[in-house]
């Protein structure tokens, strides 16, 4: 057994892992090999080309609700609004991925943080004060982070699955609290939450749309695009006319968080999370203060949840009520992380995108959506146990496990080993 454990550790370290990855890539199936190959191809491109391609891609994503590509564009519901929801859920998934994917803490009550962020914003800007949005936003993030610390301090000492139920309870407590406390509007909710400030002149009803200039959207006749002047987005007015500016704002935050996420993940902190997730006792023995790092993951995740909640509160409708934060939403968040692949940054983005987008795209099957979603969640783990965009580390670990099984003679068919 000792030999095997040794091997496992060696395999996880870089040299052996690279060797095993080649073996794993040939042994892997379908999308996984495709992803690996894509990544290798990407790494071989010159630096300049990579930057140019990235910038191009980012611009494309920003313009998506204006390009309104056929097939992708939702028919029955405003596409800009859908894209706002997509970006918001991707942001939530990236935040939750820190907690679940990196630190390995199963949080089933993430909607609680989302609600705290939204309600803090609502209370500060509309209900009990009239702060401007960009002052309330950091305060909301701070309050949510603090609530994460407050919840994490007693509960993170509890291990594993107990945490799941405690967080589930937390999510429900927050929902019940905002339902029953008159101070935060109870069942009536909070309305007239101010939007982010405009750039350029404010709109002057009934004719002036405001903003510096108007950006037209495209309309498609088959595959032939033309300008749709009836659907212009004033730059940059956060009003009731267009949801696109809200999408841009959330997307900007998402990109910012993705950068930060990458920095943190590749730092000492990220490695400490990984060690804690894989084996808490071993990590503790190696001198990793596991509790402190778990608490950090929890607080960071909470802060991002609060950020997206705050953005949600100040979005187009400017209205929140307790029904906006059902416990089911938590489950949806967790599903988004696992659909993409826990521990994988881009997986979280993909998962959040799919979970938010697909139900809106297939609105005509409205009644069947949840049923299909449930079935999809049952099928996915069978065919993609690591999610759609698995973390590279997970793949390496799996390849290493395979190698060990082979060395122990436990695999069914003998396989070529490097």
């Amino acid at each position: 057994m000792g030999v095997v454990e040794n091997l496992r550790q060696n395999a996880a370290s870089s040299g052996a892992a690279a060797r095993l990855r080649e073996g794993g890539a040939t042994a892997g199936r379908g999308v996984r090999t495709g992803l690996e190959r894509m990544h290798d191809g990407w790494a071989r491109l010159p630096r300049g080309a990579r930057i140019a391609l990235t910038v191009l891609l980012v611009i494309l994503v920003y313009l998506l609700p204006l390009i309104r590509p056929p097939v992708i564009t939702t028919q029955q519901i405003d596409f800009g609004g859908v894209m706002f929801g997509v970006a918001a859920l991707a942001l939530v998934a990236v935040g939750l991925n820190i907690v679940i994917g990196y630190a390995g803490l199963l949080d089933l009550g993430y909607v609680g943080f989302y609600a705290i962020g939204a309600y803090t914003t609502g209370v500060l800007t509309s209900l009990h004060a009239s702060w401007p949005f960009f002052l309330a936003l950091p305060v909301a993030v701070g309050v949510t982070m603090f609530s994460g610390l407050l919840l994490g301090w007693p509960t993170l000492r509890v291990r594993g699955d107990y945490l799941a139920i405690v967080t589930l309870g937390f999510g429900e407590i927050i929902r019940l609290a905002v339902t029953n406390l008159g101070w935060v509007g109870a069942a009536r909710g909070i309305k007239d939450i101010p939007h982010p400030p405009n750039i350029g002149p404010d709109p002057e009803p009934p004719f002036g749309t405001g903003g510096l200039f108007n950006i037209p959207a495209l309309q498609w006749d088959g595959l032939v695009p033309s300008l749709d002047t009836g659907r212009e987005t004033p730059f940059l007015v956060f009003g009731a006319v267009s949801a696109v500016p809200y999408y841009w704002l959330v997307l900007s935050f998402l990109i910012l968080i993705l950068f930060a996420d990458r920095l943190v993940k590749d730092s000492r902190v990220g490695r400490a999370w990984e060690a804690t997730r894989e084996d808490e006792d071993a990590a503790e023995l190696m001198g990793v203060p596991t509790f402190r790092f778990k608490l950090l993951a929890f607080a960071l995740g909470a802060a991002i949840g609060g950020l997206s909640g705050s953005l949600y509160a100040s979005s187009q409708s400017g209205y929140i009520n307790p029904q906006s934060f059902p416990l089911l939403l938590s489950i949806l968040f967790v599903a988004a992380v696992f659909v993409g692949g826990a521990g994988s940054r881009w997986g979280a983005v993909v998962g959040g995108t799919l979970v938010a987008y697909l139900p809106e795209r297939f609105r005509e099957f409205a009644d069947w959506r949840l049923l299909v979603f449930g079935l999809a969640l049952m099928i996915l783990p069978v065919y993609r146990p690591e999610g759609l965009v698995p973390a590279r580390r997970t793949l390496r670990a799996r390849a290493a496990d395979k190698e060990i099984e082979h060395l122990e003679g436990r695999d069914e068919a003998p396989r070529q080993v490097v």
Binding site: T155, V158, V166, L377, M378, P385
Partner: protein, 333 residues
Amino acid sequence: MNFSFLFNNIIELSITGLALGAIYALVALGYTMVYGVLQLINFAHSEVFMYGTFAVAWVFVLLHGTEPATQTLGGTAGLLVVAILAAMAMSALIALLLERVAYRPLLKRKAPRLMALISAIGASFALSELMGLRDRVAGWFGLREALGPYVANARDIYPNPVTIQPQTVFTIGGYGVKDVDLLVIVASLLMMLALDQFVRRTRFGRGIRAVAQDPESAALMGVNATRVIRGTFVLGGIMAGAAAAFYMLKVGSTRQNTGFIFGVKAFTAAVLGGIGNLRGALVGGLVLGVTENYGAAIFGSQWKDVVAFVLLVLILLVRPTGILGESLGKARA
């Protein structure tokens, strides 16, 4: 804060709390046993319970008809026995299906443990939605007319046509104890006692404990793990079916989303008592039921669930593995 209400009604609150807690405990057994054997939160167990409640209502529709009636417990005893058996059968069947469709394929592929939770969440959604869309599904097969009263108003509250009028059996301290509560408490305790003895004394029970302790060694000793896991699901289903019948006795109606919150509470009860521990499920359920009732009396019923979860956090702070904290595998024979 209404302490005088609590003290004036303490006996009533305790007894109805115990009855509610006994139902929680029966459902909690399903969570705790599956967790003990597979270390898996069987998130879809709530739907196993929900299907049981529908089985009860359907039996009453089938054997009594749809017109509303009020009966005493004694007057409807025959129907009730059939309904309980039907609920147990239905729940056991759903649990079996769940094991076959949602878990076994994953176990076979050695998928990460948390992925099984996702599968369970998916199964929970699918089962609940299937119940909510049962009129449409019946429509596919052209059975909508034939099944009329069973699939009507699929997304609305579905009542048991027979309302059971509780009768006072005896009086303690000025409160007349109702026969329904008494039946629920006594029957639940008997069922749990039977299950406890089953796991402790029979060959199959020894298999369950062995797999819970160490699946690999158990397999080496000739325990058929697949059979044990299947049996565990069925046992949990039977308990959930009984719980469903008692729930219908007390509440009288159900809905396709009844399972979710009730399941969360039952799981809380399991964790409260110490997950993986059969007697813990009982203790956790009863403590939860009674505390909820007291909490509702003091703070108002809208804070009932908050009291339950705060209690959970407090207990886990003091005893991180629940009140009894012993695992299924460590239970002595």
